[in-house]
């Protein structure tokens, strides 16, 4: 079909006629891929440069607009064996990239200064017990000041600015005591240097900044990694819509380019790309992703349909309405707003610690100063001791220990196929004691499964091969089972009824009961979504197509119960579809036929009982419940809105990542608590020494670096004790959660060697994703 592809929204044009585009590439797994993609593209006429970022799995292409187009480049990649998706980086991601660069610069400056000041400080410390003259010591102190002051002014900016922002809104954050501590330490040292005193704390102040910047950078690096990954997945999932213009001509364009009022064509079996009202055509649509309901809904002109549903048997044209105007979507939005407002009240562990921390530390320092004054010490001694208390208590442990645990735990989750959306997701998942599952697409697989015992093997194979010629979603489930993936020649699809083709001279029909001459369609039995009928050479049969449980659902449920968690199923589907699933998993608590508001109500009731709920769901109808729950997880196949509400996403056909998420996050939380306890012990030992006025710069340096190293090493223990599911996931290469980004297990089937097979694999994988 002559249909033009419109990618203009992704292409940046320079004045010289050069164009630039960023693509997220699926299936990049090894060094061969880099060479294959880059040389494959630069060999094309008109392509100026192609550079693949292997870490991010993104390809930057520059080309001359008059010689080649964006669509040609994507096609060329597909010929080589890679599926590429145009990609528009989000603002937040770009900001994070700039922020990371800035933090690295600060880190480099602080590291340089800390090393050189320490070099001078060690000379002073060893000189003070040998033969260093006070002139040399003063020189070394002035040199330290020369290095430390500009370095701190530059490298401390992230903390100073954040502290200033907090103070302006009359709040306290962790950066306020950091700023106060560092500034006072530097000011005191400068004064001491000027009066030729023996001790200066330049090394402590700058080392403190260095450790804290390490913590900041780790924190940001983790968030960036998950954002890049989520961004790529979003673009892999991005669907194309067929837009009809006034003359009735079709343009294929990414969904994000659709505007309200556009007319779009949705063919049978396609995903409905946007909310809209039907202009022409009628069909049955599968709304399982939206409502959890597994039986199709018949729609006619004038009906409203929601993005994320799958079109069934007939082609329809839609008029796109602005997002969020359908009744269901409006309801979901309203509930979401309420639930999200309630959620922001939960406080992160680090914030709770720092809220306690600042007043305690500052009053301890003030008390020390006053105490020494009352005891008759000079003003100078009192101030020096008070500042020593501030320096020794500076929150390295809190600022470094928690991000370090988060980074290690996030890496652990990544390997188990869980992508956390935020750092505190780990904390909240660890606190949960009740898990609420949605049924459709969460406990069950998102795609339908056919029962191959219903027909003879050869008849079944014919039916499956015939299904290859159909666009109907039910047929797609059957077609996946065809061993010979060649459609029959001369197959004709009759929209709304089925597909027929001559096989060995006799006609075969696949489709509705009437179409196959079987009379009325039998009603779907419990646990079955639908039936599909097949007639060939006088033989007929019905093939039940149903949802199947995720392969390891029962094992995961047992393991979760063993961990002491209370499990529950809340579904929007009919009771007769939910009951058997709950029974097979041994779950006694289940509720069916719930609206989004009722799901929230149940969760609120659980909350009122003092429980902390982890919600696992994928449908649009689950989004408010996900937001209302204490923590939430979604499979990667979930509706877009739902994904944005989830604290973490999980990949693959298995349920094991849910278990891994709980196990790994509990472990991470206990390590965070251990680290906080270590910090408290450290302070309990060091503060009395500081208050007694016995802290020399040498003791401060040893204590601070010692405690920082201790908590970091402790954080690394999160790597030990690999969650059991990661090995379970790895043995199933078909569902390996790679998407080209987690390539470790997927190297064996690298596309650079597998050639066109890979396109097919990707196609299947994409179908599963969408």
């Amino acid at each position: 079909m002559a249909e033009t592809l419109d990618l203009s929204q992704f292409v940046e044009h320079a004045n010289s006629g050069a164009a630039h585009m960023t693509l997220a590439v699926d299936g990049v797994a090894c060094a061969g891929c880099i060479r294959k993609i880059e040389s494959g593209l630069t060999g094309l006429p008109g392509v100026i440069d192609a550079r693949l970022n292997f870490t991010q799995r993104r390809l930057a292409v520059d080309w001359r607009d008059d010689e080649i187009g964006a669509a040609d480049i994507i096609q060329a990649l597909e010929r080589i064996g890679y599926r590429a998706h145009p990609f528009a980086p989000e603002r937040a991601e770009e900001d994070d990239g700039r922020q990371a660069k800035r933090l690295l610069k600060c880190l480099a400056v602080a590291g340089f200064a800390a090393m050189n000041v320490m070099l001078l400080s060690i000379s002073v410390w060893s000189g003070s017990v040998s033969d260093m003259t006070h002139v040399t010591r003063d020189l070394f102190h002035w040199l330290s000041a020369l290095i430390a002051l500009p370095a701190a002014a530059y490298a401390g900016q992230p903390f100073f600015q954040s502290a200033w922002r907090a103070l302006r809104t009359r709040q306290l954050n962790m950066d306020v005591p950091i700023t106060v501590g560092v500034t006072l330490a530097l000011a005191l040292s400068l004064y001491e240097t000027a009066v030729h005193a023996e001790q200066a704390y330049f090394d402590s102040a700058i080392m403190l900044l260095f450790f804290l910047l390490c913590g900041r950078y780790l924190d940001l690096a983790m968030r960036r990694k998950t954002k890049v990954f989520a961004g790529n997945l979003a673009s892999f999932k991005a669907e194309f819509a067929h837009r009809l213009d006034a003359k009735g001509e079709l343009t294929r364009l990414p969904i994000s380019g659709l505007r309200a009022g556009d007319r779009i064509l949705v063919r049978p079996g396609e995903l409905i790309p946007a909310d809209g009202t039907i202009l022409t055509g009628s069909s049955a649509i599968d709304e399982s992703l939206v409502t959890g309901e597994t039986v199709g809904r018949a729609v006619a002109p004038g009906a409203t349909v929601y993005a994320g549903s799958t079109n069934g048997s007939g082609a329809i044209t839609l008029k796109v309405v602005a997002a969020g105007t359908g009744t269901l979507v409006e309801e979901v939005d309203r509930l979401l707003e309420k639930a999200t407002a309630a959620k922001s009240r939960t406080v992160r562990l680090a914030d709770r610690a720092s809220r306690l921390y600042a007043p305690v530390v500052h009053s301890a320092a003030a008390l020390t100063g006053i105490g020494w004054l009352i005891a008759g010490a000079s003003l100078h001694t009192a101030i020096v001791t008070a500042i020593a208390v501030l320096i020794i208590t500076c929150p390295c442990a809190i600022a470094l220990a928690i991000p370090a645990v988060q980074v290690v735990a996030a890496g652990q989750l990544f390997r188990s196929g869980v992508i956390p959306n935020s750092g505190d997701a780990i904390e909240r998942m660890a606190e949960t004691d009740t898990i609420v599952f949605d049924k459709t697409g969460t406990l069950t697989l998102p795609e339908l499964v056919v029962d191959d015992q219903s027909l003879d093997a050869d008849l079944f194979e014919r039916a499956a091969r015939l299904a290859l010629s159909s666009h109907h979603p039910l047929a797609a489930a059957l077609a996946r089972r065809a061993r010979q993936r060649v459609p029959y020649a001369g197959a004709i699809e009759e929209t709304g009824s089925g597909v027929r083709a001559p096989i060995d001279g006799r006609e075969a029909r696949l489709g509705s009961a009437q179409f196959c001459g079987l009379g009325d369609m039998p009603l779907p039995a419990a646990g079955q979504a639908s039936c599909i009928c097949f007639a060939y050479d006088g033989r007929t049969g019905t093939i039940p197509i149903r949802q199947s449980l995720r392969p390891d659902a029962a094992a995961v449920v047992t393991a979760l119960v063993k961990l002491g968690l209370d499990l529950m199923v809340l579904s929007g589907d009919r009771p007769e579809a939910v009951g058997p699933v709950a029974d097979r998993l041994g779950l006694r608590q289940w509720l069916a036929g719930l609206t989004p508001a009722e799901k929230i109500e149940v969760i609120e009731t659980l909350k009122a009982q003092g429980r902390r709920v982890l919600m696992v769901g994928d449908g649009l109808n689950d989004a408010p419940a996900l937001a209302a729950a204490h923590a939430s997880l979604s499979p990667i196949t979930a509706a877009h809105l739902t994904q944005t509400q989830a604290d973490a996403l999980f990949l693959g056909d298995r349920l094991a990542p849910v278990l891994a998420a709980v196990v790994a996050s509990r472990r991470a939380r206990s390590l965070m608590r251990q680290n906080l306890a270590l910090a408290v012990i450290y302070n309990a030992l060091a503060v009395p020494i500081a208050m007694a006025g016995l802290v020399t710069p040498l003791i401060a340096a040893v204590a601070m670096s010692g405690s920082s190293i201790l908590v970091t090493l402790n954080a690394l223990r999160a790597r030990l004790g690999v969650p059991l599911s990661s090995s379970a996931l790895a043995d199933d290469s078909r569902t390996a959660p790679d998407h080209g980004l987690m390539a470790s297990a997927a190297d064996a089937q690298c596309p650079a060697f597998a050639g066109h097979d890979h396109v097919e694999q990707n196609r299947i994988r994409m179908e599963r994703v969408s």
């Binding site: 060094a31 970022n53 660069k101 400056v109 340089f112 070099l119 040199l143």
Partner: protein, 49 residues
Amino acid sequence: MNVLIYLVPLALLLGLSGLAGFMWTLKSGQYDDLDGDALRILRDDDIES
């Protein structure tokens, strides 16, 4: 100890040149794709023969 007068500035200068080198590598994007660079270094098809 007069030797310090030029030894210390010299040491600082060396350190600063290292810092400047790091800033340059950061600016030229050498940390943007660490995994990719680890693989690219093994390629030898960029050698003109």
